[in-house]
């Protein structure tokens, strides 16, 4: 690998690149992989391939006549030019806007977006002044996304990390299959929110619909209003001092702190009854094997 330059790699086919990087002989044996790494060697805060952007370098992009793909390619090109703040004008509900941004960036969308907006992102800070459609910030890894109005269903589906905030209300199945991060909603949430949640935190300042946290495996849900019903294995837990401190900090950070504080929030966690199959499973395996 050391003898191959990036310029040479770019001239190669994918198969040639894989061979040149010594990856063809690797086998997935489940054994440990030893990688030379010195924690004190350097202090990079972004991925090695991330473009150097300056938050003070700002530009605007009128998306009215552009397709979603063209907009996303333009964002990537602008980041390569060092723009750290990009404002998208006239999004007009386009789907899949601002997806796949894997670096630090301030992205401001002036208007509303369609389905799967800002999905698969890892690091940017996004503000959307309008509404968003289904599955906003789906599979988000890191960063912050703030929506100033309402959001559709499956808000933050499979969220992995970062803060996803909706100042208004959201639809059903919020945070379905969530695996980390925080979803914060200023208003209400629909039915089946937190369905199959695996970890992370959800905060609803308003009410929650039917079957909240149904089949959740882990994670925490905080509800400030009424809960229509809890789902299978979602149980109430005691609000600790650390929970109160976390709620106070997060809600204050996004301007959603209720006047009456956070003591009224109900905390919902997994009862952990669904973690495993029943006790006969080992015997079943023995019979099969």
């Amino acid at each position: 690998m050391a003898g191959v330059t990036d310029a040479e790699l770019k001239t190669m086919s994918q198969e040639e690149r894989v061979k040149a990087l010594g990856m063809t002989s690797e086998q997935l044996t489940g054994k440990s992989l030893y990688i030379e790494f010195d924690p004190e060697a350097g202090e990079n805060f972004t991925y090695p391939w991330a473009p150097e952007v300056d938050y003070n370098k700002r530009t605007e992009l009128d998306t009215d006549e552009l397709t979603s793909t063209e907009v996303n390619n333009r964002i990537r090109a602008l980041m390569a030019e060092g723009y750290g703040t990009i404002v998208l004008k006239n999004p007009r509900g386009k789907h899949s806007l601002g997806v796949g941004i894997l670096s630090r960036l301030n992205l401001i969308i002036e208007g509303s977006t369609g389905y799967f907006g800002v999905g698969l992102i890892d690091g940017p800070n996004v503000r959307i002044t309008g509404r968003v459609g289904w599955s906003c910030a789906e599979n988000m890894m890191a960063g912050t996304v703030v929506i100033e109005k309402n959001a559709g269903s499956t808000f933050g589906a499979a969220l992995r990390g970062g803060d996803l905030v909706c100042m208004g209300s959201v639809g059903s199945r919020t945070g379905i299959d969530m695996k980390g991060g925080s979803i914060i909603v200023g208003g209400d949430t629909g039915a089946l929110s937190g369905f199959m949640m695996q970890r992370g935190r959800m905060v609803f300042c308003g009410n929650a619909g039917k079957n909240l946290g149904d089949s959740m495996y882990d994670g925490t849900i905080y509800v400030g209003g009424d809960i229509q019903s809890c789902g299978v294995d979602a149980v109430e837990a005691e609000l600790t001092e650390l929970d109160r401190a976390w709620l106070t900090r997060k809600l204050t950070q996004y301007g959603l702190m209720p006047d009456k504080g956070v003591d009224h929030f109900t905390k919902i966690v997994a009862g952990k009854q669904l973690w495993n199959y029943d006790n006969l499973e080992p015997h079943e395996k023995k019979i099969i094997l």
Binding site: M1, D6, L9, Q14, R17, V18, L21, M23, L33, I35, E36, F37, P39, A41, G42, E43, N44, F45, T46, Y47, P48, W49, Y55, R76, R104, N106, G123, N125, M141, A142, G143, T144, R160, G161, G162, D163, G180, G181, S182, R199, R201, D218, G219, V232, D233, L242, D243, A245, W246, R249, Q253, K272, Q273, L274, W275, N276, Y277, D278, N279, P282
Partner: protein, 137 residues
């Protein structure tokens, strides 16, 4: 028939899985010979009084008011060794022996977060090699 009475073994102390690598406590775990569940509290939220200077600088560079995705990062334990799970390689990264483990989970979590950021942003990270081999744009 999912969901009977099983619960994972309780986490009783910060060194529980350093002293007992196998972590077999319940009858169920002894029966299958494998620890079930996390070896740390995944729901433990960070106490910012324990934050390190590196993490403070990282937050400033990224433009975040808090630890953001790192709030979900904790120090775990693999085969009796302190380790942190790296989602980008889907595997555990062991904490070097040269780092002394503090006596509380909050400080340990901060060490794990700092190490993970440094590892992920290193050109030696496997994702950097994978990206070179398979990059599309």
């Amino acid at each position: 028939m999912a969901g009977t009475q099983y619960r994972g073994s309780e986490i009783k102390g910060v060194d529980q899985f350093v002293n007992d690598a196998a972590g077999l406590e319940s009858d169920r775990e002894k029966e299958i010979g494998q620890h079930i569940g996390y070896r740390y509290d995944v729901n433990l939220v960070p106490d910012y009084t324990h934050i390190t200077p590196f993490l403070t600088e990282y937050m400033q560079v990224m433009g975040w008011d808090d630890l953001n995705w790192l709030e979900d990062i904790h120090m775990g334990y693999e085969e009796g060794m302190a380790a942190v799970f790296d989602r980008n390689v889907n595997g555990w990264v062991r904490i070097p022996d040269s780092i002394d483990l503090p006596d509380n989970q909050q400080d340990r979590d901060m060490i794990a977060r700092e190490l993970l950021v440094k590892f992920q942003m290193s050109p030696n990270h496997p994702l950097a090699t994978l990206r070179k081999a398979y990059m599309k744009f």
